[in-house]
Each structure stands twice: as structure tokens, then as C-alpha cells.
């Protein structure tokens, strides 16, 4: 394995260095008074900075995989994938925030904080060391707390932030205790050394198991897996909608990245495409139990929601369950499946949140009754309703949408691993999800609007982005060869 010293590592770390510079630049450019009044300047800088970040990532894509900074972070196609993914999520959040009425007074620090989280996410995905896992997770979490509570006048937003902080502090406290137990048993923080230790030494099962379970509490909190999901509905509801959209896509993806990396590098050994869990504990069953609880609870509770943000929060919990289900398969297909699903989830969930922001802006209500008769509210209403319907059907997993392809990959991994019961639970859950997603479709298309008003336009670019995301949902649902190749390349973990 290629272990780099600090100086050589800098090249591998170039994208994050650049983004840190942009982070500072946003504040600097905000200093002159006449500039700070320009609402477009900070998001503009952030967006350009992210595009350059993506370009830099593509530049270093061809570098041979290596562990940088003496083993702290692993830079491999997997990490680079999450760099691009995080940047794309941040770009989406910037666009939604810029369009959102709630955030019309957002100042420079808001955009800078978004970038800060974006630095943290790929670092979490890259972490190869227990301490690094903890640090990057905190980087993501602490900045997210501020974003959630950003609407300083809003009681709901502050309440959500406080809940998020309390849950976050508890979860990370439990996690670091778990990490210290793992360190205590194995005597090392490095993922590869942990694996080597487990391979060669008869480990104490109980402390390791407890340590792992506690570590998973931290991971579970990040991906909002049951029973660590309780923060999600309140936070999604209270947070500015674009922030909720961002949390449901970006940090959640980073959480899945570290779950995959940690399990597949530190806790299992690759043999003929399958990952054999190391002797001490049946990780596959552990993840399967989490997965079943997560998707079932998410789906059944989503049925009863009346607030569109809470609705999407429970839906996002359910989707975390589907991805955990694939992670339980412990094979090469599973890594690709989760990566693929994250892309599809990114497109369809961002789209659904986008349509929700559009409707919340126009109707001034977060209640799902705001969607009533949406398709009959003029041309704008019809466009939003049709795109939203596509996103919802994609979330259900119906062809020809990317959501179906994503589910197809997930179930393929699970069936490949012969976890048939888990696959059956998974598909039955999708049937349940159809019920509540179709409920919104019914409101939009079958019901009559409360008044005759056409949906007020939010600008051409907003509906343009929705249509673009909807087009991507369908096009990738029919022809996804590019994604299939890219995700296959990105699932290449440094082992």
C-alpha cells in the first residue's frame, strides 16, 4: 500500500485546500459594505468555487490510490466520487437556498458554512483512522447545527437546532466511547492495522461488539437509521427547507460512505468478490436488523404525516433503510449499489425538495394540503406537479425512473448475497411507500384546488432546474450506461 508523507499528501488534498481558500474568500469579499449588500456575490463565489473543486477532483482522479497524511485519509476513486457528490449536493443546496423565500436574508456566513460542511463530507468518506472519522464527523455535524438554526427569528428553527445539537452530542459521545473501546482492544486507530490485528489475534468478542455497536450509534445518527433517527423529522421540519434537502442528501451520503469504508476495510476481508466479516461478530445480520427497522418504521410513519417536510424526512429514513439493506450484503456489488442509489436518491430527492420549496414559496404553507389541485393551477402548477409526480414515482422505485434502477442495484446485491428474506421485506416496503407517495400525487392531480389562483412563478431558472432533474430521473431510468460505468469505477475502495 502506498502511504504518503505530509508533503506528498498535499497534492491529494488539493481540492479541500482550494475549498478552504474559497471559504475564507467569501468572508473577505463580504467586508466592503457595497459588496456585502449584493445578494448574489457570496453564493456566486461559493458556486464557482465548487465547480473548480470538481475540476480539481477530476484532475487528481487518475492518481494512484494512496493513504495520505501517514494513513489518516485514503484517497481512492471512492473518495473522489464522494468529493464530486458532495460538491454537487452543495451546488443543489446553494441553488435552492438562493431561490428560497425563507433564506432571502442569508448572509455571507451561510454560504461559507455550506462550503465548510462540504469540506467535511468527503473527508468523512476518506477517513481511514478512527480519530479522523470522529473529527470529520464533528466538522460536518457542528456546521450543520448552525445551518439548521440559521433562521434566527424562527422559534421552530432554533428548536430544531437545539434538538439536533443534543442528539448529535449524545450520539458522538457514544461513538467516541465505542471508538475508544475498539482502540483498547486492538491497540490501533488505523483501519488497516485493525484488520491486520483481527486477522492475526484472537480478539475479545464482547468489548469489540460493544465498541462496534456504539460506533454504529454515531453512524446511525448520521444516516438517520432507526433507532437514532428521532432528530430527523423535527430537524427537517424546523430547518430552512434547502438545508433540510441538503442534510437529507449530503451528510447522509457521507455517513453511508464511512459505514461502507469502515466495514469493508477494517472489519472484513475480501475474498473472490465477497467480503468475509472477521470472526468476532456477524456484521451482516447487525446491519440487516438496522435496515429492516429503519425502512419499516420510516415507511409506516410517513403514511401519517401532514407536513411535507416531515413527510420527506420519514421518506428519507426509509431510503436509508434500503441502503443499509444493501450494505448488509457485504459484497462488491453492494458498494456499487449504494453509490448508485445515492446518485439516484440525490436526483430524485433534491427534485422533490425543490418542488416542495417551490410550493411552499408560492402557497406559504408547509402542509401537504398546499399541493391540492396543483396540476390545475395554471401552466406553472402543471409543470411542478408533473415533475413532482416523477420524483415521487422514482422514490417509489417504478420504472422507467432512476429510482427503479437504484432499487434494482440494491436488490441485486442483496439477492447475490442470498439474503432472500431481507429482499422480500425490502420490496414489501416499497409497496407501502407507494401508498404515501401516491397520496401526494392524488392531491396534485385528482383533487380540485382550494382556489382558482395560478401558481405564482418563481423564475424560469427554478422550473428549469426542476424539469432538468425530472429529465435526468427519466433518462437515467432508461439508459444509465454512463452511471453504471462510473459507479463501478467509484466502488473501487483502497483495501
Amino acid at each position: 500500500m502506498h502511504v504518503l508523507n505530509n508533503a506528498d499528501s498535499l497534492w491529494y488534498f488539493l481540492p479541500e485546500l482550494w475549498l478552504s481558500a474559497v471559504f475564507v474568500a467569501i468572508f473577505l469579499f463580504d467586508l466592503p459594505k457595497q459588496w456585502s449588500e449584493n445578494r448574489r456575490l457570496s453564493p456566486g463565489i461559493a458556486a464557482v468555487g465548487l465547480l473548480v473543486y470538481i475540476a480539481l477532483t477530476l484532475y487528481i482522479w487518475e492518481f494512484p490510490s494512496a493513504v495520505a497524511f501517514h494513513g489518516m485519509i485514503a484517497v481512492d476513486p471512492f473518495t473522489n466520487f464522494f468529493r464530486i457528490f458532495s460538491a454537487a449536493a452543495a451546488l443543489g443546496a446553494i441553488f435552492l437556498s438562493y431561490k428560497s423565500v425563507e433564506l432571502k436574508d442569508a448572509r455571507a456566513e451561510y454560504w461559507a458554512l455550506l462550503l465548510g460542511v462540504t469540506i467535511g463530507m468527503p473527508m468523512l468518506a476518506a477517513s481511514n483512522n478512527l480519530l479522523m472519522i470522529y473529527l470529520s464527523m464533528e466538522l460536518v455535524s457542528i456546521l450543520s447545527f448552525i445551518l439548521v438554526g440559521y433562521l434566527s427569528g424562527s422559534k421552530q428553527s432554533s428548536e430544531a437546532a437545539l434538538k439536533y445539537v443534543l442528539y448529535g452530542a449524545t450520539a458522538s459521545g457514544i461513538m467516541i466511547y465505542g471508538l475508544s473501546l475498539i482502540f483498547g482492544v486492538t491497540g490501533t486507530l488505523d483501519a488497516f492495522e485493525i484488520r491486520a490485528f483481527l486477522l492475526s489475534n484472537p480478539a475479545e468478542r464482547l468489548p469489540l461488539f460493544v465498541g462496534l455497536l456504539m460506533t454504529f450509534a454515531g453512524f446511525g445518527y448520521k444516516v438517520s437509521a432507526v433507532p437514532f433517527h428521532m432528530w430527523a423529522p423535527d430537524v427537517y421540519q424546523g430547518a430552512p427547507t434547502p438545508v433540510a434537502a441538503f442534510l437529507s442528501v449530503g451528510p447522509k451520503a457521507a455517513g453511508f460512505a464511512i459505514v461502507l469504508r469502515f466495514i469493508y476495510t477494517a472489519l472484513s476481508l475480501k475474498q473472490d468478490g465477497d467480503f468475509i466479516p472477521l470472526k468476532f461478530v456477524d456484521i451482516s445480520s447487525l446491519l440487516a436488523v438496522f435496515a429492516v427497522a429503519t425502512m419499516t418504521l420510516g415507511n409506516f410513519v410517513a403514511i401519517q404525516q401532514n407536513n411535507i417536510k416531515r413527510f420527506l424526512a420519514y421518506s428519507s429514513i426509509a431510503h436509508a433503510g434500503y441502503m443499509l439493506m444493501a450494505a448488509a450484503a457485504l459484497n462488491t456489488e453492494a458498494i456499487q449499489a449504494v453509490i448508485f442509489y445515492l446518485i439516484s436518491y440525490f436526483i430524485m430527492n433534491l427534485g422533490a425538495f425543490g418542488a416542495a420549496v417551490y410550493v411552499i414559496n408560492a402557497m406559504g404553507s408547509e402542509d401537504i394540503s398546499a399541493f391540492k389541485g396543483l396540476s390545475k393551477r395554471g401552466r406553472g402548477g402543471l409543470i411542478v406537479a408533473v415533475t413532482m409526480a416523477l420524483f415521487l414515482f422514482s422514490l417509489t422505485g417504478l420504472p422507467p425512473t432512476i429510482g427503479f434502477i437504484g432499487k434494482f442495484y440494491l436488490f441485486s446485491a442483496v439477492i447475490q448475497a442470498k439474503l432472500y428474506w431481507l429482499a422480500v421485506v425490502g420490496v414489501l416496503n416499497s409497496v407501502v411507500s407507494l401508498y404515501y407517495y401516491a397520496k401526494i400525487v392524488k392531491l396534485m392531480f385528482f383533487d380540485e384546488p382550494a382556489d382558482e389562483q395560478a401558481l405564482s412563478s418563481q423564475g424560469f431558472s427554478f422550473s428549469g432546474v426542476l424539469v432538468g432533474l425530472a429529465a435526468a430521473t427519466v433518462i437515467f431510468g432508461i439508459y444509465w450506461r454512463f452511471l453504471s460505468v462510473w459507479t463501478s469505477a467509484s466502488s473501487n475502495l483502497l483495501l
Binding site: L398, P399, A423, V427, V431, A438, F445, F446, W480
Partner: protein
Amino acid sequence: MEHLPILTITTFAPLIGIPILALIPKAKVNLIRWVALLSTLPSLAAAVYIFFRFDRGTADIQMAEGPLNWIPAFNIQYYLGVDGVSVTMVILTALISTICIIASWGIVKQVKGYMVLFLLLETGMMGTFLALDFFLFFVFWEVMLLPMYFLIGIWGGPRREYAAIKFFLYTMFGSVLMLLVMVAFYFYSEGHTFNIIALQNLSLHQGPLSVEGGHAFRTACWIGLFIGFAIKVPVFPFHTWLPDAHVEAPTAISVILAGVLLKMGTYGMLRFNYQLFPDITVELINWIAVLGVINIIYGALCAMAQKDFKKLIAYSSVSHMGFVLLGMASLTSEGINGAVLQMFNHGTITAQLFLIVGIIYDRAHHRDINGFGGLASNMPKYAVWTTLAFFAAVGLPGLSGFISEVLIFLGGFKTFPWLTALAVTSVVLTAGYMLWTLQRIYLGKLPEKYKDLPDINRREALCLLPLVIIVVVLGVWPKPILAMMSASLDNINHVLLNPSNVATLIGWH
């Protein structure tokens, strides 16, 4: 590809109409209807072409297009083709679709959206019958659900929302099981493929799932597929979505549901259960026969109890689809040919029945059978059309329904004499509820308020005419349709009946 991709045209031609429709202003309702009608004609023309060019002497796939690589990572292919199992269904779909556009002329609410969804639905139906790649099949199968959901939910009757979601959930439940079996096929077939023909060839030698091997596993997969298809047929006890969906759907959509969609269930069984698991099919054949007879009797009894004209027709579909199952289960040449002929005949006959219900509903705005009477006196032409269709449904000799029912009974008697004897009693039941309905609606005293109901108009007659011609012609001369299917069906039957072929090669006996 040297020849014209006739099957691709058949499948995707309706989609060409969608962008054109999108450009037409909402107010030009008539133009929208004409464009939609024209969009269905290429498929109909292609179906006529297929009818004449189809080689009746072979059991092989014909006019195949592909297999072309679609997604190489999963070996997913674009592969269309027809054989004796699917060809009659393709022709039926094209015919019914065009008729339904004409029958939808009376739709006034959001005509554009209706026609767009309808054309999408037609592509989904065609693709389902033509696809020879399991993945492609599944995509078409599911694509059909979305337009159907909206067509019932927006243009349906008073309980449309309930009916739409019920239909959607039931079908989705079936299709997710199918999805899992499909993925299992891919992983456990030799050479990892979704290609149905390749999977069939594997099943002849060692079974497509023989890598995983276990008999229990193969049976579980068979049941997964069967439930998916049984919901569509619908087989008792999965039938409860049908009365709701058929009753609430607008006339043309009921026609599509009964005329085409139900057949997908039995088509799927013949294509997948029968040909991919011949051994398991033979093992479980008694169950198929029993379910078929339950459908026949239960459907007929339910129909008899209905007061709603449309619901009565809906339950008669349950009963008539039971004949298909019984014929398929008989494992005789007569039975299986009769079953597929019955699929075709039921499509043409039930389409007429639903159109007839639609005609009276448009005029009287209710469907209560007891609320009518004596309509024959002021709507004589309508009464004649109805009588013809009813007699065809009853199975009167000389009309097409008779031929397929006789074939099924002949085949059924050889294998299941007692069950078939039970099923034959339904002939009396069917005659009972059909003639009783005829009597209550058309004979007797005409209520005062219906004195001025106009008789059937030219457009309505135009919808019924081609169907009546087919029913009469096939009633006396069924050969053109039977000859198309028999080579393929006899081949399927041959594989099923040859235990050495099945048992030794699959090796679990």
C-alpha cells in the same frame, strides 16, 4: 437489420403522437382526438401486416429484433419478437386501442392529458407482449401502471381515487415479487442473462436456477411469478381490485382493462411459469385447475348477484378468465389452444360488453339494472348489438366464445373430468345472468323517463362493428387465429408432457 423493424414500430409508434399532442392548444379538442386516433393507426397497420406475414408453421420466435446490448454491465438487452403465444395478443391490443380512442370521443375533461396517457398506455401494453428480455418486459409491465392509475383516478367515476390506488397497490405488490425472481434469474442462470429465450433453453437442459438448485427455491420463484401474474388475471383471491377498477374507470379504460390487461396475467404464466419452470408447473398443475374452476363458478355467482350493470360485466370477466386457467392447466393441445383462443375471444367480447354498458350510461347516467326496462322498444338497434354480444358471451354456437369454451372443456375433460364437469355448470349460470340482464334491461315495460333516449349512433356502432365481425367470423371459421398459435402452444405442451425431457434433465426426480 435488413427488414423494417416492424415490432419496434408497433410498440413505439403511439409515442410519436405525444409531442404532437403537447403542441396543440388545449381548446382544439377535435384536433387532439384526431391526432390521437392517427397515432394508433401505425400500430394497427403493423398488426395487420403481422397477421398476414406470420409464419403459422413454426413454434420459433419470428420477426425478432435484437438482441441488442442495452446495458452491458447487467447483460440487459433490447429484444422484441412474436411467437404463437404473443401474436394474437399483439393484434388484439392494436385493435382494441384504436377502438378505444374512438370510444373516448365523448371524453370532455382534459382531453389532451387523457390522450397522452392513453398513447403511453398503448406502448406499455405492446411492449409487454413483445419483449423477450425479462428486464425489458418488466419495464413495460410497470410503465403501464402509471397511465392506468391516472386514467382511472382523474377520469373515473365517483369512487375513482379508491379504485385507482387499489389497482396500483395490488399490481405493484405482484410486480415487486416478480422483480425479485427476475434478479434471481439473472444471478443464477448460466451466463447471467435476462434473455427469455436463452432462459427457456437453459430450462430445457438444467433449469435456469439450477445453480442455486434447490427444488424449494425454484418452487418459491414459481410462486412469486405466479402471484404477480395471478393478480393481473385476476385469480381468486387476488381479484378484489377488479370490480372496483372496472366499475370506476371510464368506458374506454374498462375496455382496455378487460380486453387487454387481464390477458397479460395469463400470457405471463404461459411465457414465464410454463416455459421457465416446466417441472414445477406440472407439479402444481392441479392448483391452477382448481383456481381456474373457483374463478369460473365464483365469478359467475357474483355476477348473478350484481345490480350494477358494469359490475356484472366485471365479474363475468373473472368467470371467463377462469376458463383460460382451466384450459392451460389441462396440459392437452385442445385445452391450451382453447385457452389462448379464449384470451383473444374474451378480449373482443368483453370489449363489446363494456362499450354497451358505456352507451347506456352516457344516456341514462346510471347503471342500475333494475332501473331500466323495455329499452328494445325505443332503441332497437342498440338491443340487437347487445343481444349479439350477450350471446357471444354466453357461448352460443356460431359465435367465437363457443369455440374456445368447447376446446377448453374437451381438453379439461381428459385431465380433470370432475373439475371440468363442475366448470360446465357455469354455462348455465352464465346464460342465467346474461339472459336475465337482457330481460330486465331490454324487455318489459319502458319507464316513462327513458322514452326519448336516442338509439345507438354511428360512432358507437363503428366501435362495435369490427368486434362483431371478428366474433362472427371466428365463430364459424376459427382457423386463421388458431393456426397462428397452435405451433408454439403445442410445443410448450410437448415440453410439459414429456417427463423424461423435464425430469431427467432437471434431475430432481
